[in-house]
Structures are given as C-alpha cells and as structure tokens.
Symmetry: D2
Subunit: 390 residues, 4 copies
C-alpha cells in the first residue's frame, strides 16, 4: 500500500463549461457540478439552468455565474456562447431525457463538446438522430454513465480483458431501488414527477432510469454485445404511467447469457446496483453501494476481496484512484472520473493530439444501445416476453 | 435475549427408522442420519443402503446395524420390515431421484411413513403417481426441502402471513453454485455423475437439483402459487447431458412477479441460495450461507437485521430454535428440524391424535410442484422461452 | 469443492455416558447432549441431572433414562456407576462452576473419563487440585472450550503452526455480549442468577464466563503462553456482584502483545467472540457468529476469504468438517467436534492404542490457565491495573 | 428517501486560500485541495508548497498558481499575503507535524484563519503555545480531524446527545493499518520517512498519526472527557524510531471506560478505524471503511442499519449529506465537510455575524487534547502502563 495521492491536480488551462438544466430543485445538476470541480479541470461559466428564464437567472446567480451568461434557453446559450471568443468549450446537459436530443444537437453543431446525462434520449429515433449528429461533428460526445468511473469497475473490466475470467458465460445485473414503492409522483415530488412522465422520460420508467445503468455497466465490464432479450416489464403502483419493475433475460453474442432486474419498488434497496460476471476460469462480483471492493474468485481458489488502492488492483483501477486504500471513494469520485476522462479527451482535442488510449468514457454509441435496450424491453413485454433482437 | 435452550429433548418413544440409499460414498445419506440424530427422535435400525447388496451390508455394519436388517434392496426391506413386530415405522429415501417413486410406493403401501429427499421424482408422471399413492395411504410423506427448516425462513414466512409485508409484489430467488463449472462428471466423481445423468436425475440438471430448492423456498415463504413461467435453460459445459444454468421469469397468482436463477457454473458461489420478497409495506432478504440473519425493511424505516434467537424473531422461529442468538445454527440443524417436524407428525399419528398445527413440513404436493416446475422450465426453454402454465 | 460428506459415522461401540447437571431449565446440558449425539459416539445412560433428587428423576425420565440410573447426587452416581459392569465410561459435567472440582474428582478417581464444561473451577486452588487429580488419574479430562472445535479455528491454528503468519506480533481477542445489560439476575432468570453469583461462578463474572473463552481461543490458535497482564475490570450494573466488563492488556512470551475485551453489557452484541492475529507475514480474523469464514491476508496481497469446506481450507479443518462449503455448520457442530475428539481419545484409551496425533481437545492444563487468567485479571484490577504475572 | 441533492452550492464570495506544504510527492495536500474544491467555497491563490523554494515554484505552477504567490517559506508567504489587499483570508497547513506550530502562529498573528492538519503539533509544549496564540487571535483555527465530517459520525453524535444511548458505559476505538508492517521507511518512501521520524512527527508514531484520530473520534461522538489512561506502546519493526502499535485502557469522566488500539503493522487492515459506543439503552458501531452505515441497536430490539441519506438519519447527518442514500459518499466528502464547516465559520466572521450553531469542526482545544493523549500514552508506557492523568 502506498499513501501517496496518485491523481495529480490539473495542469492544462481549465475547460470553459456551460450547463443546461440543473437549476434549483434539481438533483443531478449539482452532482455534475461537484464532479466537474473535484479534479479541477473545468470552470463553469455559463448556464441555461432552467426552462423558466427567471429561474435560470436566479439559479445562475446562486452559482456565481455572470448574469450575462445565464440564458433563458439552451438555444440562446448555444448561439451566444458560440459567438463569444471566450465562449464555452463544453456543455453539460442535465435536463430530463426529452430535452437531450435538441440540446445536444444545438451545441454539437456549433463545435461545442457535449457531456450529457443518460439515458441518451427519450426515444430511439432521437437516439439515432443524435448519433448521426455526433458522428458528423468534430466535437466530442460523452455520456455520463457514471458507474463506469468506479476504480473497481475499471479493474473488473481489466480482469475480463486480460482473460482472467476465461471465456465468459454469464452476466447478471440488478438495480433495485425503493423510492417509488408508493405513488410519490402524485405528491408532486419533482424527481418523481418527471421520471414517471412518458413525455419527459420516454417509453421506459425503471428500465430507462436505472435499467440502462445496469445494462451499460454489464456491457462495459464484459465488453459484450447484446443480441436479444426477453422481458417482463411491469408497473406495480397504480396510476403510474411508466414501468417500475422489469425482469429481463438476455443473450449476448458468443453464447453468453444474462439476467437483468431493475425495480423502483423493492423495499430495502436504495441504489442496489450489482453486477456479477462468470467465466470458465473465474467469477467477479461488484456492488455499487460498497464500491471500493471487488470480489474475485478463481475456480478452485479462495475468494479474494480486491480493494481500491489495495494490492490486487491493477493499472486500470490505479489510473482513476485518488486516495489510498481503506479511505473510501464514492459516487461523486466516480462521477468526477467521467469528467476527468472527458477533460483529457477535450484537452487532447484542443491541442490536436491523440488522447491517451487509457482514457475511457461512455459515448453516443453506448447511449444508442441504452435506448435500444429500453425500447426492446418494452417491445418484448408487449409481445408477452418474446425475444427481441437488438 | 435468553440463553435457556428452547428445544426440549425427546420424550416419546423413538421412531424406528430405516434408510434406502446413503451407503458409503454417498453425501446426503450421512446428512439425513445426523439430522435424524440431533433431536433424538429416531433410532436407525434397518437399511437398504446400496443397490449393491454387498455394499449395503458393509455400509450397514459401519453404522452398527443388525446384519439381518441390512437389505439388498428396498423391496426386500419393505417386505421384511413390514412383517416384523418391531419393524421400522418410517423410512428415509436418500437415493438418486429415479429411485424415489418405486421406493416410496413400496413403503407407503405397507403403512410405513416416508421421509424422502428432493426432487420428488425424476419425471412428472412418477410425481403424479406418487402423489396418488401418498394420498391413498394412511402413512405420511415428508419431502426434505430442508431449507424450510431454518428458523429465519420460518420467521420470514410468518412476516408474510401476518401481513407485515403488505400485498406481495416480487419474489426473487437464486441458487448459484460452482462445483460443476468444469466437467467433473467425466472424472467419475460420484455426486457429479448421477446428478448429470438424465436416467438418474430426470429431465432437469441444475433446475432439478437446486432450482427446485429455490422455487420451493420462495413458495414456502411467500405462500404463493406459481401460474406460469418463461425459462432460458442452458448447458454451458460441453458434453454435459443436463442443464447447468437456468434463467426463469415467473408469474404467481395475484399478479406477483418472480425471477429465479440457478447455476452450477457460477464461480465463487458455494451454495448461494437467496430469497428476496417485496410487498407494498416491507421487504425481506435471506441468504442460506448466513442463515441466522434476516433483513427486514419497512418502507420509510431503517433496515433491521433480525437474528435467530434475537429480539425480533417471532414464535414461528422460536419454535425451531435450539440455542441462543449469536451461537449460529446451520444446515444440519435446519435439516434436523424437518426430521423433528416429521417426528411430531409421526408420533401424533402413532397416538391417533391431531398434530400441533404449528408443525410444518414439505409434502408430496410440494414435491409435485417441484417436478412440475422443472418440467415447465425445460418445456419453456425448448419453446424458446414461451410462457408455460403450471 | 466436493460435496461428499467427509465425516464417517461411528464404527466403534458407543461410549456409555453419564451427565452431572443439565436438568430441566438448564442451558448448556442440552447443548452437551446434542453435541454428544450428532456424531453418534455416545449413549447417554445415566445422570445426576439436578442437585434436587426429585428433579433429577423427572429430568432423567424426560430423557428416557433408566430410573435406576437417575441419581440424586454425583457422588452416588460415581459410586454406583463405577460398580456396574455396564457402568458409564465417561461423564459430562455441566453444572455451575463451583461443582466442577468435586464432581470431576469423584469420577476421575473411579476411572471414569470426564468431559467438563468451562471454566475449570470457581477458584484457582480448586483448579490446581483438579489438575493434580487429573494428572494422577489414568482417565482422560476434556474441557469443553467448544469454540476450538470450529473448522476455521482449526485452520487458523494450522496457518500459525505452518508459519504462514511469520513471527507473531499481536493477538487481539474480544467477546462482547449484551444479555446482562440490565440486572436480569434480579428477576430470577436462572442463567443470570448463577452466573452472577460468586459462590457458584467464582471470582470472575464476564471474565470467567466469556473472557476465558476468548483467552483460550487466542491461545489455542496462536499457541502462545501468556506471561503477564494488566486489567481494568468493572461492574457496570448496580448491585451486580461480579464483573460484567473487562479490558485486558497482555504480554505473551516471545514479545507478542495482546488485547482482550469481554463484556456482558455491550448492547447489540449477542456472542461477539472474535480473534485477530497478526504476524510478520500475514494476518487472520475470525468471528464466531460467522464461523464458516476465515479472513487471511498475506502482506502485499489481496484479502482472502477462506471458507469451511472451500478451496483454501487445509487438512486440520477438513478433518472436522462434516458437510460441503456453503452449507453452514454452527455452534453445535463445533461442540460436537469436541465430543468426537474426546470419543477418539476415549476409544483409543479403551483399546490401549495411541490416539491419532491429529486429535485435539482442551485439557485440564488449559483449564488451569483459564482460571489463572481470571484470577490475574481480578488481582490486576484490584491493584489498579498493575501487571500481574501468570 | 429523497433524491434531491441537499447541499446547495456556494453563494457567498469564495474564500481566498493559501497552502503551506502539499507540494509534489505529498499525500495530504492533494486531499486538502480536493476537499476545498468540492463544495466550491475556496479559491486557492497562494502557496508555500515546499520547504525547497524551487520545488515550491514548480508545484505551484502545476496548480496554476500565480508565480508571484508561490513562496519559498511560510514566513514569507504570511508576511507578503498579509500585506496584499487581495491577500489570502485562510491558509491550509499540510506539512509534517513539527512545522504546524510556527506556521500556524505566523498566520494567526497576521489575522489569517488557519486550517491545520493533525496532530496539532509534534509536542505538548508547542500545543499549549499554539493554543495560547489561537486563543489570543481573532482568527479561527480549524483542525482537520476529517473523520468528524462523515454524516454517520454526525448521526452517532446526535444519538448520544439526544440520549438515545442512555448513560454511556463504554467507548471502544481502534485504528489498525498495515502499511508499516515492514521497515518501508528504510526504502526512502516519503510518507513513511517523515511519519517515523521523531524530529518531524514528534513523540508518537502510530499514536500520533492514527491513535489521535481514533481518540478524537471517540471523544467527538461521545462528548466525553478523558480522565486517565494506561498504555502499552510498542515498536515491532526493528530499527523504527517511533511506536507502531499501542494498546490503551481509558477512563473517561463519569465512570465511562474505554479501550483504544492503533497499529501500523496489523496485516489485512488498510484504514480500519472503528468506533463502538455502548450506553444503558443502546449501542452503536461505525467503521470508516464503510462510512455510509451506522449500526444502532436498542436494548431488546433488532439491530438497525442506518444509512446516510436513509430513513433513520437525523438532521445532523442530513446537514452534511450531499447525495441520496445508496450512492456512497467517502473520505473526500467527509474532508470537504470540514472545509465547508470552516467556510461557514469564516464567512460568518467575514460578515461579523454569529455562525449557525449547527456548524461543527475540531478546534485547537481538540488538538491540544490529541497531543496530550499521545504524550500520556508514551509516558504511561515508559512507566510500564501506569495510569496517567490527562
């Protein structure tokens, strides 16, 4: 064990960042801002923090933004910032899902890098169109599937890549929560209202909000492509307009099988994201609530508990580890790692150099896969669990 | 906490017990014998311990059985013991699955109670025929789904029955193992050989051997009836003749959904049986490897860790608790509880009295359901995951 | 992993066993009987189950004992059983501590092996006198420090003996409970009454009842001799006549340091016995409430979780393992292992052969050490924590 | 559960911050900077990052500091910054211990607030002198006993303060590590070199580096004053000049007993800080490596696992909680909370208003107690474990 800090602070000039969404009362906007600050690669200088212009101003003032750069809409912000010599280089989009496409398009088309919350869009058409925009833009598109930033997730992925698990057989994912066990959206709770509203969230409820995270994480670690799925998607809470539970059987390319469960009504679970992957030689298990640990068992050997910063953690984990083992890093650190990976890519782009191949972040392609996953779950369930190709 | 022992030793005259199977090299026979001994309700006095007569004699001698009562076949044993004035009152059947039906029939038809290992039979026809035999017999039939004997499982069931969970929504079951991650049956390992042999095990591999346990336990705790299932059953190990992994989506009566995963190739899992049940008011979680704990969470309250022998354990758990909290009871104790429940029923039958309604054990009906579950899994999987009614 | 049962059932003729104490209302007597039954090496045939003759008869009848062999006192039992051709070969002494000496003496002097509960005696004089009696007897003396029977404790000891830990540095022991957090002895609760009564328990309360267990276990695993200790022993509950908490600093031979905490008032702890041992090369950690696991960490390597019956468990653990990994064994199994070790020694003595050197059980010497430990704790505490030599 | 973010971003003008120590190769300096950034209350604008002027410049440049404000010594920095109209308002002192006193004095005497790493000083004289300086200064002194910033630690303290534990009886603290199990300071590892050097660390090794943390945390939660202690302090690694293990028995005012173990040689422990506190009504247990959980058990009730952001967490925890339950916060967040508490106090001082009484941070008094604790441990140990008054 070393107790030297392994992450250096920023050296390059900071990236000028704007934000769409994330005004007062929002949840994920504040998270993005903390994540952007932690490793000191960004300066937040502009915002269209709310779809209500007045609220946008007030929220911006609370963040110390220049009032001139608190915009009433993302469209205005994109246009005006693109015109400024000191305009933003990147924008974080942290709105409800249905806004992602149009907002991302506006910035990408003006040469501004986009860091966008998940799921990519509220429907598959938008997802495909956004991919086209992103593919045709010189700007980068980073999707904040933040769980991919956890060091032990990186280590799990490295174990798969280096063959430590042998040939993969099983990818088991679950993400149970309980915060929607009752119809809290009917009380007006902001987070619940939009997340259960098809117009804002899209076709998927639990599938879109957390199922995509579980699926993305299973894919990220395993490196596998999903071939088809069969789903039993359900809404338990009366009056709710989107699903709040899904059971999904999966078949990945190469004969690998998977199982995914996501739920917003499983009482006793806060954010119970868990991924277990089994191959011919070894198995791994990782739980988001205890993210500094990775269980790793080789066939015929005792279970190993590999810790972030500990002896068994490899270079992929160490790259994104800030502090020594036994001093836990958490959700914000993982989120910050996505921002730091994005910063590395943006700074490389700024300098016209190739980014370090070790830099990894979820892309628009991962986003399209996520929306395709949600769409397939809903379709399969409508067909009473028939297999649907991805 | 009390530290008085809560289980009394036997008072009634012990039950004269025979055993079919369980000779040298067997696993589950020795377990049944320890279970029968622990609470002192039985005397093992006869055996057809092996299908090879010589081996049966040797095995019986090793157990201190009277050589005259070491039989070469269950048929001989049934006939001769039934004719003795001091003949066995009950028999434990601990053979591979394909023998269960004929053996159980032989004893039931002669008025001898049967304690039989699971799954009930190797195919559904036999299961139905055995049910008919059992229903027509005055003798009792007890199926050793031993996990139902764990005190915290009893407490979980009591929580459901008393409405502490509200209306049920989800029953999530899993039973991963790793002992068949490689083709060990090809090395001649006795347990692996018969458990992967369709002629001895029946149509199900992992589904029959451990899937039935998970399904039984989910049903036992929840009290629910399975309506239909959709399964993706697979054999990962080349050359293996039965399934070694299954993913199953379930629909129970009353709109409750379920998910079941069983696997014999999930490296890092020994006997990872786990049941999680969620209702409108609360959720519970129980893991077989740590059986003295039950997680219980009411909506909007902190998680509670209820311990066997501890403050939160109710009367159903206390009835089958031997020693104080913090001194763990294990697998053999749970198995012994099935034997003690059986003893209570047999002794009541012997005395012509009604058994205490608190006495609970799995019956031939549970056995039929288990075999029907396996059969439905295989059928669904052959139909590419179509829903199959139970 | 194998799923063959590794313990064979008894072959030799069973040992005729008597019991002193353990009548109705007792706790540990029932535990001893279950332990004696599990592996089938004993027949309980006689008892002086209570100091009240009538109660002894009633208790014996409840156990199915021959009324002629239900005695009103241990003295009568020792005399009469010694005179019978089919008299007991061994006796279990499960009374309060103050009776151990006289009872053990009565049987040892008549050539009857003694299996005695801990602590050895209620004072150090009796302990030394009992050691003299035992040393001069041809009969065996087994002390039921039952935690030494846990397979993972055996494995821990083997790791120390084979040098896997390097040179030892630290032995940290703790045994917190909470059942005496209030003055329950004042309510007449039988277990609390005698355990807090100096006349029955001796000079130590928590130190004698559970501190001796922790100390014995630390010594058993480490193989170390205690040189001196400094203790702060305290009674928190008003009116209690014996200690209910102790903090003890220890120095073992060879420069090894230790720390021991025992408590009966630490709310939230049932039987929180835990031992951690650290050497120059590795460290281990074992917790009684989760006894099937042993943490083992080599310097500079990931933590290993070794499981009973699992890949990392060595021969010392396997010798005393009954069932496969993942099917937990518990307190009664560990207790039964002490009985089986005793049986092996008694049967060897019966046959005049040398017992297998792998057979291990706590002896009268361990008992003397335990009482000396309690005595030293009390003495040190009276001297305000001065170091007291053992 | 809510998933609204509960911490607002900064509103007031940011605090101009300087740093002493924390240049390249340092550990804790980078941690302080991340902590200062997370909640956006500070701007780092000046530094004396190394005692080597050139290194200080290079380190400052790497952080993007104005070269004019990268000083060669803290003395120069204090003088020049105090003279600037835009000079620093606060300084973080993150050097080895022996520098704390002089550096803190220099800034406090110039009206600059001090945020100082622990232990307060390398000896008790300096500690008392620093207290005098701080008491006579109008500037604030904040000691970064960062573990006091964890939300579940705040909740534990609130439980004690509100009487949920009843009258306290026991405070058990431990902080085992293993990074100094071998003489790594002899390899030149920077962190090990200074921490084992009496000239830089002071009289205590493990006692000063981690024992003070454990003691501070036990005191912070319990609110108790230590009266006397008896210690067995030891150096296991040959050639090491400071202690690497300590066993400490404690007596707090009001008859409360405590036990403290700190170690740098306990293999398998990374930063195993743990505090357990027991009263007449309930007990609590908190472990730094899993900081989002607090075990809370009321006498006669099931154990509760209270989670950060979960149902059982009270207002003291919620005040310092950034994100919803199940999304773990870690070490940096707790550290950042100290910085945010300090910011609240500094901003109140700036505005001449009284700080919110809910704001809590360790002070110079806590620092004096910590150094007194180390000094008493060493003294007691030199007197062979005699009780030493604090």
């Amino acid at each position: 064990m070393t107790i030297e800090a392994s992450k250096s602070d920023a050296v390059s000039a900071k990236i000028r960042l704007g934000m769409v969404g994330g005004g007062q009362g929002a949840f994920i906007g504040a998270v993005h801002r903390m994540a952007a600050r932690l490793d000191d690669h960004y300066d937040l200088v502009a915002g269209a923090l709310s779809s209500t212009p007045d609220k946008s101003k007030v929220s911006g003032a609370a963040l110390g933004l220049d009032p001139d750069r608190c915009y009433g809409s993302f469209a205005e912000m994109a246009e005006k910032e693109a015109a400024r010599p000191d305009g933003i280089e990147a924008v974080s989009i942290v709105t409800p899902n249905h806004v992602h496409f149009a907002a991302a398009k506006a910035f990408l088309e003006r040469g501004i890098h986009v860091i966008c919350d998940k799921p990519l869009t509220s429907n598959l058409d938008d997802a495909h169109r956004l991919k086209e925009v992103a593919d045709n833009s010189k700007s980068l598109f980073i999707l904040t599937h933040n769980y991919t930033g956890y060091p032990m997730v990186r280590h799990a992925r490295e174990l798969v890549q280096t063959g430590a698990l042998g040939d993969l057989r099983l990818v088991q994912m679950e993400y149970p929560q309980d915060w929607l066990a009752e119809p809290v959206e009917q009380t007006g709770a902001k987070q619940a209202v939009w997340r259960t509203d098809p117009a804002q969230s899209g076709v998927g409820g639990s599938t879109g909000d957390i199922g995509t995270h579980a699926y993305n994480l299973g894919s990220f670690i395993s490196g596998l492509e999903l071939e088809e799925l069969a789903a039993d998607v359900h809404t338990f809470v009366e009056g709710r307009r989107l699903d709040d539970n899904a059971h999904v059987m999966m078949r990945f390319k190469g004969g690998v099988k998977g199982l995914l469960w996501c739920s917003q009504v499983a009482i006793g679970n806060e954010n119970g994201l868990k991924v277990r992957i089994y191959g011919t030689k070894a198995g791994i298990e990782w739980t988001q609530a205890d993210p500094n640990y990775l269980w790793f068992t080789k066939l015929g050997e005792p279970k190993q508990l590999i810790t972030r910063g500990g002896a068994g953690a490899g270079s992929a984990a160490s790259r994104v580890t800030r502090i020594p083992g036994g001093h836990p890093e958490g959700y914000l650190e993982a989120f910050a790692t996505i921002y730091s990976e994005a910063a590395a890519a943006i700074q490389a782009a700024r300098s016209g150099v190739t980014v370090d191949p070790a830099v990894v972040y979820p892309t628009v392609d991962d986003g399209v896969k996520g929306v395709a996953f949600v769409t397939a779950c809903i379709e399969s369930s409508r067909k009473n669990g028939a297999w649907v190709k991805l």
